[in-house]
Amino acid sequence: MSKGTIRNMLTRDKRADRVVPPSGYTAQLTLFVSGAMAFLAVFALALSLASGRLADRWASELAGAATLRINAPAEQLAAQTEAALTVLAQTPGVASARALSAEEQVALLSPWFGPDLPLDTLPVPQLIEIVEGAPGLDATGLRLRLGAEVPGAVLDDHSRWREPLVDAATSLRRLGWVSILLIGGATAAMITLAANASLAANAQIIEVLRLVGARDRFIASAFVRRFTYRAFFGALVGVLFGMTGVLLLPEASEEGGFLTGLGFQGGGWLLPALIPLLGAAVAFLATWTAAARKLKELS
């Protein structure tokens, strides 16, 4: 189908559009389906974008860091910490290494034990925060060296729990896109059904149009235009409701985590504007295909 054909089919022709009766349940069905699907598509898009942001953040924030834990009797803790820092200072790929202060360790444990934790009376391991640099940390080599020089050291490069989290966020993003595709497919199927019902209900009109010399393209265009514009306006309303829903979600915050971040950011707010256009494109193709098939069947 050429661009000119598509333009001709979509150009409003009030008189030609009149050949199809203006009412019928298929009109309401198309408006409702495209509106509801666009509403759902907004949320699926928001979910997908939020999951993507989360996956990127987890991947980037945790990828460049590792933690060294020193489990040693209290009298050896300082010496082993010092030895570990020395080893780390000599290790390629370590940009910086720093032992966490007692206050920082209390802050880390306070969500579980409360803020008044007597850290000095508990056998809490010393934590060392490692920031990776070029050319990257050789975790296996470092573990071997620490095993020989700092017996109480346990290296955690975060990969054990970072990867499943990033995988989960990536899967969630993929799920969002699959949902959008399914929504598009379901919209196409519903509009095809509605178009088929409309074409069947108007079989006599099609017969009259053929009798007076109408080409299939003229007949199909009248139906295609009607369904395309209905789907567009239905989707537009659905998007407006969906965007309002997203706007009413709580603001993203550190405490709220993922659920409060389920919205759009920056240029992402413009993406839902594509949904009515995509809805119209889906309706165009679905109606054109249905009309071509039905007209062939009726000939």
């Binding site: 009149r18 149009l209 009798l211 010399g213 080409r215």
Partner: protein, 225 residues
């Protein structure tokens, strides 16, 4: 113009037309008569491509109708005006819109002058009914509207299937006069009717060939009419 050569048409197990040959010459006037169910409507439908012959050859404007695709068939139908017995209008559109439908579908709607449409509707006596919807029209008005729609593209051939079937004698005479006028303008006219009195009444107005369908075959009618 339209030429049938040994055309047969079978529907299901029954043969409705058998080995029919007929030529509609430019500017000619034909009546097609025969009892109900003889195949008059079938023959008309074959002439404008609504049905295709089961065997034989049917040429319209030097084109084999069986070889035309749907677009070519649409173009052919713009050259053949058809008046159906049941008229077939789009009930949600006004009389003026229905009559100008052939202009619209052929892309000539934009340039169509309202005065020309009014002149045509005046010719068939419907100049004051422009905005009426088809269900509001009487039988005679519907037939005249169908005739106006059939000729608005100035077709070469006008086919009319029982055009006076649902109207009184006076109206049938009026319709017939319109068809005779069209013939005098050079149009080929073929009227299918079982009403022999109508044929007799026309004899003085136009030189018409009367064809009779009998036993699935077409014959030139004799002096018994």
């Amino acid at each position: 113009m339209i030429e049938l050569e040994n055309v047969s048409y079978t529907y299901g197990d029954g043969e409705l037309l058998s080995d029919v040959s007929l030529q509609l010459q430019p500017g000619s006037f034909h009546f097609l008569t025969g009892p109900s169910g003889a195949g008059k409507t079938t023959l008309l439908k074959l002439c404008y491509g609504a049905l295709l012959p089961t065997s034989g050859r049917l040429n319209a404007f030097e084109q084999d109708i069986a070889r035309l695709d749907r677009d070519q068939m649409a173009l052919l139908r713009r050259r053949i005006g058809v008046v159906h017995q049941d008229c077939r209008f789009l009930d949600h559109m006004t009389l003026a819109e229905n009559v100008s439908l052939p202009l619209m579908v052929s892309g000539k709607g934009e340039n169509a002058q309202k005065e020309d449409l009014l002149e045509l509707l005046n010719w068939v006596g419907l100049g004051t009914r422009l905005d009426a919807l088809p269900p509001e029209l009487s039988g005679g008005e519907r037939q005249r509207a169908a005739l106006a729609r059939a000729v608005i593209l100035s077709p070469d051939v006008v086919l009319a299937d029982e055009p006076t079937g649902n109207v009184d004698w006076e109206m049938s005479q009026r319709l017939l006069r319109l068809l005779v006028e069209l013939n005098k303008m050079g149009k080929t006219v073929l009227i299918a009717t079982h009403d022999l009195s109508l044929i007799r009444a026309t004899k003085s107005q136009v030189q018409a060939r009367v064809l009779r369908i009998s036993q699935r075959q077409i014959q030139l009618a004799g002096a018994d009419l």
